[in-house]
């Protein structure tokens, strides 16, 4: 980490601590769900931005995580147990799902995950005995930590913020670890990476499974946040939403998905005057963005910065965007 990026991270953290103070419950709730979706989008970023695979099931993984955590907390166990089980469970499911899909032909993961998302929805909706069916599950308690409650919306925001920072740190560590660098090698030049002894298939599978576990972890936070979960919240359309977050923000950049989640969740609040046109404007902007800067908003920002300060190179690999 350069000194500049440490400074930036510190400033961002302080801002995140200060921003909910004095706000109403609704704004705090929106900020909290932004953090939750940022975690899920971070996971997808690992799959998409670093391993170059499209997963269309991130909402399904959130759903699996949310239901696991809900069932465990409703059974009277501590939430942390539910959180760990959610991450572990989605990691294993990611491995089981990704292994055959990546074995056949590496771009078929997109189609398999698309089918998987709807299958998960159907199971959650139809297996009443376990999931409550279309009535969903209600009344998940918000956890206590050594006497610290997370009951109010503000307390829960800080609780989520802590988990967000932990997730961010894990993500940063993965990306900069030896096998994180293998990802980068893979993305920049798959053929060379393979010839250097990087087992692309195993790395890709791990990236997908870890990315899915991030989704599961985010879902586990969603349970006590909303205190109500039902199958519709994890339908295929929500996976597309998370995918758009990652791509709009900038796949392959650390802050990309966080920015993308902000665009999807926070921005509508400030654009209330656009009323019914918001989604139209957003969709048009996504199309324009894809034409001019497939590496998302951060890519566009870098391009602009590079133009203003000539002599600096933009990242060559990101110019083309991640390839399907």
């Amino acid at each position: 980490m350069t000194r500049k990026s440490i400074l930036f991270t510190l400033v961002a953290l302080i801002a995140l601590i200060l921003v909910p103070l004095g706000q109403g419950n609704y704004i705090i709730y929106v900020l909290t769900s932004w953090l939750v979706f940022s975690i899920a989008a971070m996971g997808l970023n690992l799959t998409l931005g670093y391993a170059g695979q499209i997963s269309l099931a991130q909402a399904a993984f959130m759903g699996i995580g949310a239901y696991i955590a809900a069932l465990i907390t409703l059974a009277g166990y501590h939430w942390v147990l539910g959180w760990l089980a959610a991450m572990g469970g989605t990691f294993v499911i990611g491995l089981l799902l990704g292994y055959p899909a990546l074995r056949v032909q590496h771009h078929f993961l997109a189609f398999v995950t698309l089918a998987f998302n709807t299958l998960v929805f159907l199971v959650l909706r139809n297996e009443d005995w376990l999931t409550g069916g279309s009535h969903g599950l209600v009344g998940m308690p918000r956890p206590n930590f050594f006497g610290l409650s997370t009951g109010t919306n503000l307390e829960f925001y800080y609780f989520t913020l802590v988990l967000f920072v932990i997730s961010g740190a894990i993500f940063y560590w993965i990306v900069n670890s030896p096998w994180g660098r293998a990802f980068k090698a893979l993305r920049e030049n798959p053929v060379r990476a393979e010839s250097l002894g990087v087992d692309t298939r195993r790395i890709t599978l791990l990236a997908f499974a870890i990315g899915s576990a991030f989704g599961g972890g985010a879902g586990a936070i969603m349970s006590p946040l909303v205190q109500f979960i039902e199958p519709g919240s994890f339908a295929f359309i929500h996976s597309l939403k998370i995918l758009l977050m990652v791509v709009v923000g900038g796949a392959g950049f650390f802050f990309g998905p966080i920015l993308g989640a902000a665009v999807v969740i926070l921005l509508p609040e400030f654009l209330r005057f656009t009323e019914g046109y918001y989604l139209m404007i957003y969709a048009s902007l996504v199309i324009v963005l894809m034409i001019y800067s497939p590496s998302g908003l951060i890519g566009a920002g870098q391009k602009l910065y590079a133009r203003l300060r000539p002599g600096r190179e933009t990242r060559k690999d990101m110019e083309k965007g991640a390839q399907l």
Partner: protein
Amino acid sequence: MSEFFQLIVSGLSTGSIYALAAVGFTLLWQASQTINFAQGEFVMLPAFLVLALSVKLGFPLWLAMPLAIILAVLILGVLFKRLVVEPMIKHGTLPLVIATIALGVLLKEMVKEFYSPLGQPFPSLFPQDVVTIFGAVISIPDIANFVIAMGAIVALQLFLGGTRTGRSMQATAQNPDVAQILGVDIKRMVLYTFMINGALAAIASILITPIYLAKFSNGETLGLIAFIAAIVGGFNQIRGALVGGLLIGIIDNLSATYVSAEYRQALPLILLIVIILIRPQGLLGTSEGRTV
């Protein structure tokens, strides 16, 4: 027995509509590696063009329908190619996938905001009479939908195989570099493909909307089914998409009745996963060097 026959017949009728959408889907893939996530919305939109022309502007139906098809060819064919696909194709497949997802949202929202968020009745081209065969009641619209959809696909095959333009289009799809060397105007051929997709979507739309009703969200299921049909049948073959469409139509009906209505959506998806695992090129597809 009559129930089984009934299910097969109505499965073929709706399956033929899925086939139209799936064929268009594979055409775009072959010509330009476009995975069109807005294909469902492409089938939803033309019905609203018909309604806008006939209900809002007062055109008679016999005029509104052909006009809507022409508009669909221009908007979903020419404009889509020029404004969305062309400027993006150099970036590779992923940005285009994202852009078509966004385009789907855009089309849906525009119909909702500028026409209506509510379902709308849609006039049927055919009398509602029925014929009874082997105890199954078959309506005239069912038969007409099947005949017209199959007719359109057969005509398309004849055009691609029997005319000079058609063969140039096929050459472009199979190997653009060689086609260019042979003097084929690749850009024009790709444009034709997009226009054909627009026309197929419009035909599907006009045939299916009297039964499905015109609603902005209709594309969500249709697009997914077209997508599954195309992959199951074979992504790089028109006849693959045709078989895929009919097959999904029938399987959907049979599984809803004989397996489980609650899991009716699951069977086509499980089929999709199984096909990808054991025969990734699809039932009728041929293995190609290019990966999807």
